[in-house]
Symmetry: C2
Subunit: 87 residues, 2 copies
């Protein structure tokens, strides 16, 4: 049993899954995204998509589900950046 | 050997380590951060700090080094948000 590492790891996984949601909500409610880096958000989206694919390849349900939530949240940020950047 | 999962996993880890740097550069060069969510960036910083601690607890050098780079990049974004938010 590795109780402490497991607790820290699960906590990181849970917060890592939901951490984008405040930015998604802010981008879509204010409709202002000029201070957001397009490249950073595309790279984050690429990263979590790769973790999602990795989860499918190794058959890890937590990786698949967690990253699917993150893909939706960060995908919505990237869409918001492109949609509102001319305003 | 799991060649494809390993390649996808390493690629995710490498891109995940550097993905914040464009946002760090943008925040500190433009000095404008009002569109950035304070909560999202604090939660991201908390997440990678927990992964860093997890890396120390299980003795994983890649987790320690990768997340140390991310902590610097996201830490600098959080500092920029607080420093430039009144401007």
């Amino acid at each position: 049993m590795h109780a402490l590492p497991d607790i820290v790891g699960y906590l990181a996984a849970i917060i890592g899954t939901i951490c984008w949601i405040p930015q998604t909500i802010k981008a879509w409610t204010t409709k202002e995204t000029k201070d957001l880096s397009i490249w950073a958000n595309i790279l984050v989206l690429l990263t979590i998509t790769l973790w999602f694919i990795y989860g499918i390849l190794i058959g890890s349900i937590p990786l698949i589900l967690g990253n699917l939530i993150s893909i939706c949240a960060v995908g919505a940020i990237v869409i918001a950046i492109f949609r509102f950047r001319s305003q």
